[in-house]
Every structure is written in C-alpha cells, then in structure tokens.
Symmetry: C2
Subunit: 327 residues, 2 copies
C-alpha cells in the first residue's frame, strides 16, 4: 500500500485536523470530538449527517450555510458512535430541533437511532431521514434493504436549503421521506478501495474487469464483466434506474459522482453518455453535477444518480448557492 | 488500461461535450472549436488560459465571472494550436484587450506566442504572463526553464479578480509578472498518469517508491526513493520551497493539489503536515485550499504550492467569490 499518510490508525484524526485548519472560516470542531460544525450562526432546524470516514468530501465538506450544520465522523468505513452523534445533535440544535440524514447501513442506523433516543432524553426534538438510493442490491453486506450512497448529497442540499428557508422539523421529515423515494443511484468499480488499516484493496478485479452495483465501502455488486465503452456502461446503468420504478420520470437531475481515484476527464465523458441515453429516452434534464462528492477513498469507478424533479421547488433548492467547502 | 471512455482518440471532444452539457449556465463553446467561454457578459480585459487536456478541472473549470473568460483545450498533454488560441482571444476580447496566462512548456509558449502575433494583426491588444512555479527542475522534458504547474490556478484567481475590478491590460501584465515570481510548487508521484492513447503509465514506480519533482505530464523529477510518512514528505517539500529563494516569506497561502488519483483524505493529512512545517518555521498562513485543481489525468500524487502573500490585495483577490465550476 502506497499512500500519503502517517500511521494508518491516525488517519481520521489527522484528516480532520487538516480540514479544520484549511477552512477555518467555514467549519470548526467541537472540542475533543469527531464533530464538525458550521462557523456561521443560524436560526433554523439543525441538519446533521455523518457516517464512516473515507467518503470525503462527504460529510464535513457539506457543512455550511444552506446545507449541514454538523457532520459526525466515524473511523474509516465505520459508523460514528452514539455519543459522538449526540454531540453533533447538541451542537446543531438551536431550539428548533435537529434532523438527522443517515445513509442506510445497519451500523449507522443503529447508532443514529441510539443518539436520537439520548437526545430526546435531553428534550431535544430529533427526526431522522434514511437515504437508500442505491438500487443495485437489496440486503447486501452491512445493510438491510437498499444502501445509501451518492444521492445522499442531493438530500443534504435540498433539505439544507429548505431548513435555511425556515421549514419546520416536522415538515422537513415529511419532505425528506418523500424526497428519498425519488432518488436512485447505481455505481461501478474498476478498482476497489484500499482501507489504510487493511493495506490492500477490498476485492480484486482483473485488468479488464469491472463490477456493477458496488457500494461505497467495496461491498459486492450484482455482476462482474469485462469493461465496456463508457456509452455501454451509461446505457446499462441509466436504463436500470429508469426501469426501476413503475413510471419513468419526466424530468430529472443527474449527479455523476467519482469514487475518488477516477479522473474528472472520464467522469465528464460518462456524463455525456448518460445525458445521451436520457435524451433518447425522452427524459428532460434540468440539473447536472459532476465530480467527487461521495467517494470510497481511492476507489476507481463512478456512480450515476437520478433525482425525479417532480417538484419545482426541489430544483430551486438544488440551484441556490451555499457556503460549503465542496458543493 | 481500464478507463471509463469510448475511443481514446475521442476523449477530449467527448469530455468537452460533457462539460458544456453539464454546466450550460456557466460555460459555452465557440462553434466548431476547442474553446470554452464564459456565458455571462463582462466589460473588462479578457483572461484566456489553456494548454493540453488531462489537467481537469483546469482550465475550463475556471472559466467564469472573476477568473477566466476563455479556456482553450489541446489534445491530451498537447498544446492547443495557434488558430484555436486565436479563436479564444477573439472570443474573450471586449475591446479592452486580452491577457494570456500560459504554463511554461515549450509547445505552449510557441503556440500562444504565435496566436498573439495573429491577434495583433487583427489589432487586438494581447499580453502574456508565463507561469513557471515548479521549482523541482530546470530544463526538463518539454520545457526550457522551470515548468508551470498547480500555482497557475492561483494566477488565474488573482489576475481574474483584478481584471473584474477593472485593471487595465498593461497593469495586469505588470501584476502578473510580479505575481508569478512569488508562487512556488513542488510535486510527488506515487503512480504515473496513463494517457488514454498510450494505454500504460508514463513511467513505472515500484510498490514502495515515489518520485519527487514530477511535472503534470509525468515528466521525470529529481529524485526517486522509498515512500516516507506524509510528515516527512511535507517537511522535505515545504523546506525545499522555503529555502529556494534568498529570503523566506513571512506570510503565505498554501494550495495542496491532488493529481487526480489520490484520495482527498490523503490530501488533507498532507495539508495538515505542511501547515505543521510552516508553523515550526514561523511562517504565517493566511489562505489554504485543498483538492484536485491541476491534475495529471489519474496520476497518484500531490503537489504543494506556496504563494508569498506580501501584497494584501492578493489575499483579498484569493478570497473573493467567483462563479466557476471548480474554484
């Protein structure tokens, strides 16, 4: 394993120090914790997300005005503990309650729920929205049901904007539950991530193989085959999303997300091919974004996320500006 | 070679289509050209940059209000041709002239100078600022003198801000020439880039080796050795920059730039270690930025750039907001 790190066990602490030192106007750290909060004061429902580290810029990169008020960092690919999440809830609460945005992984759900119980004992109102956008597989490693992946970033953005506009906790919960049903993602890997403390890739692919349907922790997907041209990958993946539900969406937003080790050049070629498939299918595209937003350390691969923009206000929320490191 | 592409020879065209389709509010394309221009109308000196493709998000990702008015894309790691650069100059000119920001590579200098001559025949005032921030080597492959690398992005930002504020072409040329002397970069590679049309990495490093002083095209550096912890790399690289000139800067901005295939997690750890070295050396840090800004396709590695912020207005220019895809 060749990585620009010090001791593998220190990587989350040192990364966190690096983030805080690099962006002190945007984010700060709750003392003696793995919690990153927004520097600017706000008067709204607080949005808190988090999960294992290794998905940078998620989640701390999305802390700031118009997105998250706090992010809680676990160890690499490991849920943060309930006490850390509770610290995040306390920090984000301004008396209007806190909404948790959680990716659907068994460990995360368990710990965020426990933190929610602890917060309620302190009379903080807390609700939780669970993102399960990955349509690749049901009940995979680490997860009951579908997994939460890159679409989570769109949930941060839309709910973050709604919260800034003064939406109440109860309304945000309703909006969030409606929203997550309309977001679908599928990913591929060309090379698995190497967790620093493990020292080798999570799974092996040969020189011409890719894996369809991988998650963001190197969980297995549903199909392994020889790599195809980008347009064939796009055709397969976009069609799989469009045919996943009962009705095909009329208008979508598209997020092409790099997994950490894939060149932006490839991501733009892949986006072009995804847009081509959508045009041929008669689906209007109203929002597009390309880059590394929900990574899997240094995994090579991409995911494509479609959000059904049935609600005009969701598009407005996606387009409104924010003050974060990475949106 | 495993990449998410179609035909290797089509990659620049398809990437460009992907970029334009993804960000139509920010950038557009001059018909039948490899030139990307700003959508918003401006009344100022036009800033034009460009160079070979493969450095994404540079340069098209920095086109927009407050940075560049046009970017010209060459083939992968190949200078754009004079006629394409001339098209960029024509598109960026609003009657107040055009400033070219060019990285110091022999091919780029030759073609940008030729385009400058052609533009002057059309009575367009053009000046050129050459960025040669890479202190690693003199007179390497492709370059007479020092190479231009990640520091170029800071030149785009500061000159772009000054141009938006109404600075004249003559003043921008003076400012640019002063600025480039105060920006220094050094990079390392853990794995070389794979050019799609070549199909294999530009050079081979063994499983525990790194190369100090590489450029952004996989040119050789000055030293190869076993990888060391991030703090040792940071110590070596930052010290080399600080001792490069006659006097150590009192206050700097720091850009840690990922080469395309290196996880953001590692970049933040490395930034932390660079800041630690600077603190021990008594150098104040007033600006920090971390991410993939001037990449070398999928190269694994990082560079660190220090800008001597002797001039307060340079810091203000770095901090002012812009409307681009990638700053």
């Amino acid at each position: 394993m060749k990585k620009i790190i010090n001791e593998p066990g220190a990587i989350v602490e040192e990364m966190l120090e690096g983030m805080i030192l690099s962006y002190p106007k945007l984010i700060k750290r709750v003392d003696d914790s793995r919690v990153v909060t927004q520097v600017a004061k706000v008067n709204q429902v607080g949005l808190v997300s988090g999960g294992g580290s290794g998905h940078e810029p998620a989640h701390a990169g999305f802390v700031g005005d118009g997105m998250l008020q706090a992010a809680v960092l676990g160890d690499v690919f490991t849920s943060p503990t309930p006490d850390q999440i509770l610290t995040g809830i306390q920090a984000a609460n301004n008396g209007q309650g806190v909404l948790l945005i959680v990716k659907n992984y068994t460990g995360d759900i368990l710990n965020f729920e426990m933190a929610m119980d602890l917060a309620q004992l302190e009379d903080i109102s807390v609700e939780m929205v669970v993102v399960d956008d990955d349509i690749a597989v049901e009940d995979s490693t680490y997860t009951a049901g579908k997994r939460g992946v890159a679409g989570t970033v769109l949930v941060h953005k839309i709910l973050g904007d709604a919260a800034r506009e003064g939406t109440s906790l109860t309304e945000l919960k309703v909006l969030g539950d409606r929203l997550v049903k309309e977001i679908k993602t599928i990913g591929i890997a060309l090379k698995a991530a190497t967790v620093p403390e493990v020292g080798k890739p999570g799974f092996e692919l040969s020189d011409d193989e890719i894996e369809y349907g991988v998650g963001i922790h190197g969980e297995p997907g549903y199909h392994r085959e020889k790599i195809q041209p980008s347009r064939v990958l796009a055709e397969h993946m976009v069609t799989k999303i469009l045919t996943d539900g009962a009705t095909k969406p009329k208008r979508v937003g598209v997020l092409v997300n790099g997994m950490g080790g894939t060149a932006l050049m490839e991501q733009f070629v892949f986006m072009r091919d995804c847009l081509d498939v959508l045009a041929k299918q008669g689906v209007e595209v109203a929002f597009t974004k390309v880059g590394n937003y929900m990574t899997s350390i240094d995994m090579q691969g991409v995911s494509v996320t479609l959000i059904n923009l049935e609600d005009e206000s969701w598009l407005e929320s996606l387009n409104r500006s924010v003050e974060t490191i990475s949106w």
